[in-house]
Amino acid sequence: MPSAHPDHRYRSPSLAASVIIIAVINLLSAGAAWCDSDAARQIIQLAERIDQEIESQNADRLPRQTLSDAGYLRRVTLDLAGRIPTIAEIKQYEDLDLPDKRLQVTTSLIQSPDFAYHQRNELDTFLLRPLNHDREWRSYLLEATKENRPWDSIFREIMTPEETRPEDLRPTAFLKHRLGDLDKLANDSSVIWFGVNIGCAKCHDHPLVDDWKQEHYYGISSFFKRTYRSKKGLIGERFDGKVKFDTTSGESKDADFMFLTGTKVTEPELSLDAEVLKQYQEQIKKAEQDDAAETPPQPLFRPRQQLVDLALSDQQQRFFAKNIVNRTWARFFGRGIVHPLDQIHSGNPASHPTLLAILTDDFINSGYNVQRLIHAITLSVAYAQALPMTESDSPSHGENKLENQSDRGVRYFQHAEPRPLSPHQLSLSLLIATGNPEKTAEQISNPDWEQDRGKLEERSEGLAQKLEIPGENFQVPVSEALWFSNSSEMQNQYLGGGKDHLVGYLNEIEDPSAIISQAMFATLGREATSEEQVVLSKYFEQRNEQRVDTIKNIVWALVCSPEFRFNH
């Protein structure tokens, strides 16, 4: 073996690591000045309120365990940057001897270009991705996340693009891809913006939820009934059109424009004479079919705009704000304060009502600042809790134990719940893990990282589109395991032995235990346990003759582990 690898080509792993550390110092200190600001102090206070509330509900005194530095960094980097941390970032973080190092690292991550990209991907998955991959729309979202655009502005732009961004067709995608199906448009809008699934109330009052009546279902539909899209791609509203429905007693009714809180909007009498109305109707029909047609006039009363105004009015805005606070929370804990996320109603109370109220108030008072909310959550002690430990070594015994304790632990946010990586998180993390760690670290600390991150994003797109978007009951599909096991992309590109890849990089290191250690850090972000060292060293010894393939197989086994597949 050594003859194939002349001594001068080997590098000591510790030296390699120290080179990388110097390169990332800038990244971590980027937010240092901000950490002394008023805004930072407010966020710290909010994080403390979160912990007070979580602690106050822990009547059972369930045992808790806080993550290690490396564990916290992996979780928070996946959550804020949408990728795993590099070896250099981990070493840097572990070596940082500051009392507020979590504040430092979360600030750096939120200020990094990674955050806007990841936030864009999350929003896309939430708002449109399951229906369509739309590049223009994604560029709009990226623009919004880069400037931390307030959530109410994003809501306005997406739901009334013709009012807020008349020249910009990109945000119309949300409506465009749902316009063919009024039920879907109405229910998706209700679920996404307000956390209320009214689907069950279509044919009868909701059988399980007293809050939701047929009138609510058709009330929400009414706001969308008049929406159309012209051939040019502009969104508009018609002058007339009412939703009719049959009640369970067989009565036929015209639906009111009614919001989920029961508040109704009264339509003023249409003051157009029949001839003019007919002319407008024809103009709209023409615009729907012909892209050369003149843009029709907008009516004075526009139901969809009314819905947006109503939802953001002082009296109603808590509904809208509470939903996104709850969803954001769930993104970081795997479970909402109200859960399921689309069941915000009186029969399904919040597990921590005061906490939800505090966060909602702060969110509204801060001008719908999503970034601030995320920052406070990731700074809380609750967020930094470890998975529940399995006490027994017997898997079946452990599982039973877990089920008993887990429900309560998860419900009260006393320990973490593993969350599957999103397609983008997994695809990006695979690129980072299997890339040459020195080169990646250098790239990330470089001022051009913003551009490079954009390129990385492009490279991750192919695999991301193949992977399933995790829903509530996510199970890893076998097609994914087959792709990792047998695709030529995995074997030849990600596990390539060249200088740009982890496999090639590790192959330059002489000592097998150093190879194992670096492989563990690059993929799982931690040191190998002694048991893992034994297993992997043995594997190495048995295969003395096939060094590159051995390294490939070890890296493969690590990136195909559940530990890699989930954020935990």
């Binding site: 199906d181 039920d183 109405a186 229910n187 998706d188 679920v191 699934n197 689907g199 069950c200 279509k202 059988p207 399980l208 939820v209 479970r335 859960h339 399921p340 069941q343 029969g347 399904n348 998975l387 430990m389 399995t390 898997p395 452990g398 877990l402 593993p418 399933e468 829903g471 509530e472 009951n473 996510f474 199970q475 890893v476 599909p477 076998v478 097609s479 395991a481 087959l482 792709w483 096991s485 047998n486 695709s487 030529s488 074997q491 030849n492 346990t529 893992e532 297993v535 992997l536 594997y539 197989n553 070890i554 493969w556 086994a557 690590l558 582990s561 559940p562 530990e563 597949r565 989930f566």
Partner: protein
């Protein structure tokens, strides 16, 4: 003629009682607890009982994408203004006639029941496909599983070494993948689009079999070490997906029809549909519970009769060969073969000599497992415009399919606190065509 329009169908609804019961259950258990897949359970009956009853049962769905004409297949109206140019031929079952475009099937009806009374109301491709592939009208906010996923779950073995839901659809027109919906990715189809061999099921030449196996063992060992400290159903699900890889790879030969004797391949014939039917037979023989073979594109808005001359010849030949082959191997008894599309076609013939979408009175067939062969259920009027006897909904068809396979059609999946019956509310099996 074995018509059984009055045989207890449909039955009185009990849904109000059931719903009020659920309301009570909902308030007692705390509405809206997590809809955890691992907690999706069937009400009423234990899963074990079902598995014992349904074990060894298989399904092949011949999907006639685009909508085949019932008048040119199972419900001809010869001599009527709607009848078109083709004659009706007598089958070997006394009293049953079918279109002359299906001559081979006319001698193969002894194991087949024809249903002539589907009234499914929805006649646009997308929505009707959802309806016929899930057995219920789409509902905003709930992602219903498709037939293949339900049957993969009900008939399959969780540890199975072979795939449990294979879907073949190589035509580009009307291609739809099928989804496991809320049952989760475990039941997604293995979907074949471009080739006869599924993607990533074969080992690359650049890795030896020993390396491939040992690498998987290494992964497994490391995962077990991790699980000793961190046990969670999500991690177990991940491991079980990887646990199935080697088994699925070992089943790659099932997709290779070169392994069949020349005589068998000749029987199925050279068409792609024929070859896929042969793959389907190989798969069910090896224990795959659900295989869908799609044949496109029946959407004959123009030139309906030429289209059906060509497509019916393929269907007639492949379906009869498949039934013969299954029977000869003793598989038909436990294999249900369904021929079905998203809807039928209008009795009226349009200006382009085509027939348009029609969902008010159309046909499908069920053969083999649990089916009373040589029977016809339901009846349309003399021109085929309406159902006059034994009207059947998509939910009723699903109930019938489940009953034929020994699956309790009233079984419910719990999605959080909401019960979702596997066949739609108020649907009833058509017992008269069941054994």
């Amino acid at each position: 003629m074995a018509n059984h329009a009055d045989s207890g169908h449909p039955k009185q609804s009990d849904s109000l009682d059931r719903r009020s019961m659920m309301r009570l259950m909902g308030s007692a258990s705390g509405i809206g607890l997590a809809a955890n897949m691992n907690q999706i359970t069937a009400l009423g009956e234990s899963r074990l009982n079902d598995q014992l009853r349904a074990s060894g049962k298989r399904v092949i769905l011949l999907w006639l994408a685009g909508g085949a004409s019932q008048l040119e297949t199972w419900d001809p109206k010869p001599g009527r203004p709607t009848g078109g140019p083709f004659a009706q031929i007598q089958t070997t079952v006394p009293g049953i006639g079918i279109s002359e475009l299906m001559p081979k099937m006319s001698t193969h009806l002894e194991d087949t029941a024809i249903i002539r009374s589907l009234n499914t109301k929805i006649a646009d491709h997308g929505t009707a496909y959802e309806l016929m592939d899930t057995g219920r009208v789409k509902e905003a906010g709930v992602d219903f599983p498709h037939l293949g996923a339900i049957l993969a779950r009900e008939l399959g073995n969780i540890e199975s070494k072979v795939p449990d839901y294979v879907s073949m659809y190589t035509s580009t027109e009307g291609r739809r993948k099928g989804s496991a919906g809320f049952l989760g990715g475990r039941y997604n189809p293995m979907f074949l689009t471009d080739a006869m061999m599924p993607e990533n099921i074969q080992r690359l030449e650049s890795i030896t079999d020993t390396d491939h196996r040992e690498r998987a063992e290494l992964r497994d060992t490391l995962s077990k070490l991790f699980a000793r400290h961190h046990s969670h159903p999500s991690f177990e699900g991940h491991n079980s997906a990887y646990g199935r890889v080697r088994g699925l790879m070992a089943s790659d030969y099932l997709f290779d029809i070169e392994r069949e004797p020349e005589s068998i391949r000749a029987q199925y014939g050279p068409t792609q549909f024929g070859q896929q039917c042969l793959v389907a037979r190989r798969l069910v023989e090896a224990g795959v519970p659900f295989v869908k073979v799609a044949r496109a594109w029946w959407d004959s808005h123009g030139q309906n009769f030429e289209t059906h001359q060509e497509l019916c010849a393929d269907l007639d030949h492949c379906m009869s060969t498949l039934l013969d082959d299954l029977k000869e191997r003793g598989l038909l008894e436990n294999t249900l073969v369904i021929s079905l599309g998203e809807f039928g076609r209008t009795p009226s013939i349009n200006g382009s000599l085509g027939r348009d979408h029609f969902a008010s009175a159309w046909s499908c067939t069920l053969s083999g497992c649990g089916i009373q062969g040589g029977s016809v259920y339901g009846k349309t009027d003399e021109n085929g415009n309406t159902v006059v006897e034994g009207e059947m909904s998509a939910g009723d068809l699903y109930s019938t399919i489940f009953a034929a396979l020994g699956i309790d059609h009233t079984k419910e999946y719990m999605l959080g606190s909401r019960p979702i019956p596997i066949a739609d509310f108020d649907s009833t099996p058509c017992y008269s065509i069941l054994t």
